[in-house]
């Protein structure tokens, strides 16, 4: 969920959703009957805690997690289903490929920020290959040539330079994140926006605003289409904690600096 989604529409939705989500929370019901202690409690175990993540804003996050569920259910997923129904699979794949290719810009800037020469060269070669031979990113011949994709973003860049992830944070629509990664997302979006505005590929049409908005919107739908995660689908009552743990650990591992073998 974190990927893609940017700029104008994003900002507007963000404000709206925040307001809605906050309106929806609060309320903790009153216990109706007298509570009795449970047969087993945490105090009887002298073990290390595990799979836990620093999450001082859990209440906010759990509200947001629920909000995302409803947002998905009533708006986002119906939109994605409509898109999947109306578009042939072949076209969907080309569209995904197109946006993934655009995402290479973010991968490239961030591998440069991390001074990773070889990786930057690979990513740049990928972008060039797929933009030309791959017909503007509709196809991905670069992978077949052995050029591996390296996912990068500014959150990882910060992590690479030693910035701690900070508290866990569930963002509206984007989903699991952290304080650091949220900052990273903002920076990546700003860079994307800057580059896009500078190039202004549809400026000559005199209608660039509706076209840009359309491209962004399709990107948002495509991002959700590619993401198979569904809130509360696992039927596991501790799903929130599992998602939190996996997200945090993945990010920590993938943004860490490689260690030398000695």
């Amino acid at each position: 969920m974190r990927e893609a989604l940017c700029c104008r529409t994003g900002r507007m939705i963000f404000v709206m959703t925040l307001a809605l989500a906050l309106a929806g929370c609060a309320t903790t019901g009153l216990p109706t009957a007298h509570e009795e202690p449970a047969r087993h409690s945490i105090s009887e175990f002298s073990d290390q805690r595990f799979a836990e993540v620093y999450d001082p804003w859990e209440e906010f996050n759990r509200n947001m997690y629920r909000f995302n569920y409803y947002f998905d259910k009533y708006l986002f997923l119906p939109l994605v289903s409509g898109y999947e129904f109306a578009t042939p699979t072949i076209l969907q794949e080309r569209i995904s490929s197109f946006y993934r290719n655009l995402g290479e810009v973010k991968n490239l800037t961030n591998s440069l920020f991390q001074l990773k020469g070889e990786e930057s060269a690979t990513t740049f070669a990928r972008f060039l290959t797929n933009s030309t031979l791959g017909l503007g990113g509709l196809f991905d011949p670069a992978t077949a040539f052995g050029l591996e994709r390296h996912e990068q973003d500014f959150g990882k860049t910060l992590g690479y330079w030693g910035v701690d992830s900070g508290p866990y944070l569930v963002l509206p629509i984007f989903g699991p994140s952290s304080l650091r990664d949220t900052g990273g997302l903002a920076v990546d979006s700003a860079i994307n926006y800057g580059i896009y505005t500078a190039i202004d590929p549809f400026g000559f049409t005199g209608n660039s605003f509706p076209i840009d908005t359309g491209i962004t919107a399709l990107g948002v739908v495509d991002a959700r289409h590619q993401q198979s995660f569904r809130y509360y689908e696992s039927g596991y009552p501790f799903e929130y904690y599992m998602v939190r743990f996996f997200y945090h650990k993945m990010r920590e591992i993938e943004s860490g600096r490689p260690l030398s073998a000695d």
Partner: protein, 429 residues
């Protein structure tokens, strides 16, 4: 989070051993039982399915008027996934294994394979999945196979009722894996009396012989870690940091198949540690069942009695407590007392025996509709239990030389065998 499943698999990771075991023509590559169980089938050995399988989600009101605690606010009914054909076709019900939802990855691949071969398919969550406990379990205490089977049967009837106007069905079939295979046997038995579906073919994949014994064997695996299961947190943290370090020392692009393979070849975890990780994964799955059953029965087992949990109330301590409880704790302190109350004088042994295939072995032996698939090295079975299955099913059983517990389920040969089994619907094997 697309790597969620991958990491889940990994977190629990594995793997020493293998080589040799030069087995005939069976091409499933992982020879060790534990590694097969954790790594499953390599992606390029899973058949390629069409990009789209037409499916619909069914949300069933199986127990009208069921009151659902606010913590399960998102549960709107029992969820099944229904993959349909546009023409008349046989319908297969598939039941998930322990903890699995109706969209468990293994279940989805079985569904796609059958749908591609021309079947309607309905997948059902395990009776141990929270969705089932909340929305479909009469007694809210899962694990008693005959009672679970009655619940599952009710779900099947509700599902059928909802879709029968939309599709044409030529015959009904049934399948399940792991605990779901045990359920399939008891559901088929029940169907002989109720006769709603008259199942033609029933396939059991990696079934336990005795549920209790199999659970005990998995618990045994956790005992192999230092300090046993009471120190599983220490163990988990140690394994996790080794895992992280391994990634950072290697030059990996991401936590992907290459990384997993490297972990496998480098033998990052010892055999005992791998066993411990499987045991711990099982505990994590069981924890969901314990918590949900407790909330639904208001038993005061891990959640204080009469406490009403809301959607933002912290649950993490319940997670830690529940994962520290063993299957035996659940059995002795929650499961057995529940059934004893309903049936005074019931002994533990009698309750254990109820959930064993041996309690219906006459039926299983004589009915030609059954088929069974398992593996020589499935660790939920003892040698004696494997021999028992071999005897019980004879020609109707297919025993693969390797694959651990469910590791080879998605392997192309296995899926082909499954599809062909159902294709023979109606005729004796």
């Amino acid at each position: 989070m697309k790597h969620l499943r991958l990491l889940f698999i990994v977190c629990l990771v594995l793997l020493p051993l293998p080589t040799s075991a030069a087995d005939e023509d069976y091409g499933y590559p992982l020879t060790g039982s534990y590694e097969a169980t954790i790594l499953g089938t390599p992606v390029d050995m899973i058949p390629l399915f069409p990009a789209k399988t037409p499916t619909r989600q069914l949300v069933l009101d199986v127990i009208p008027g069921r009151i659902k605690p606010p913590i399960f606010f998102y549960d709107e009914g029992l969820r099944c996934t229904f993959a349909y054909q546009k023409k008349k076709a046989p319908l297969v019900f598939l039941i998930a294994g322990t903890g699995g939802s109706d969209r468990a990855p293994k279940l989805m691949n079985m569904m796609k394979a059958l749908h591609q071969a021309g079947f309607h398919v309905i997948t059902l969550p395990s009776s141990t999945n929270t969705n089932f406990i909340v929305s479909a379990s009469q007694n809210r205490v899962p694990g008693n196979l005959p009672e679970d089977a009655a619940d599952i049967y009710r779900v099947m009837e509700a599902a059928w009722q909802q879709i029968q106007a939309d599709i044409e069905v030529s015959s009904f079939h049934l399948g399940g894996y792991s605990l779901g295979a045990g359920h399939a046997a008891f559901v088929a038995k029940l169907d002989e009396e109720r006769k709603i579906f008259n199942f033609r073919r029933v396939l059991m994949i990696n079934p336990p012989v005795s549920l209790y014994n199999s659970m005990a064997r998995i618990e045994e695996m956790l005992k192999q870690i230092p300090g046993g299961s009471r120190k599983q947190g220490v163990f988990f943290n140690k394994m996790l940091s080794r895992f992280s370090l391994f990634y950072r020392y290697g030059n990996f692009v991401a936590i992907n198949d290459d990384f997993l393979y490297a972990m496998y070849t480098e033998e990052l975890f010892s055999r005992e540690e791998t066993a411990g990780l499987i045991g711990l994964t099982f505990r994590i799955s069981l924890a969901g069942m314990i918590f949900s059953s407790d909330v639904m029965t208001n038993s005061g087992y891990v959640v204080p009695k009469n406490r009403v949990l809301h959607h933002t109330d912290p649950l993490f301590d319940y997670f830690l407590v529940s994962t520290h409880l063993s299957f035996f704790d659940y059995f002795n302190e929650h499961f057995y007392p529940h059934f004893l109350k309903l049936q005074p004088g019931l002994t533990k042994q009698a309750l254990i025996d109820l959930s064993s295939l041996k309690s219906i072995e006459g039926y299983l032996k004589s009915s030609t509709k059954f088929g069974m698939m398992t593996n020589e090295n499935d660790f939920i079975l003892t040698r004696a239990e494997l021999d028992y299955l071999r005897d019980l099913f004879g020609e109707r059983g297919k025993i693969y030389p390797r694959g651990g517990h469910l590791g080879n389920l998605e392997y192309k040969d296995n899926l082909t065998y499954m599809v062909n089994f159902f294709k023979q619907g109606g005729t004796a094997p």
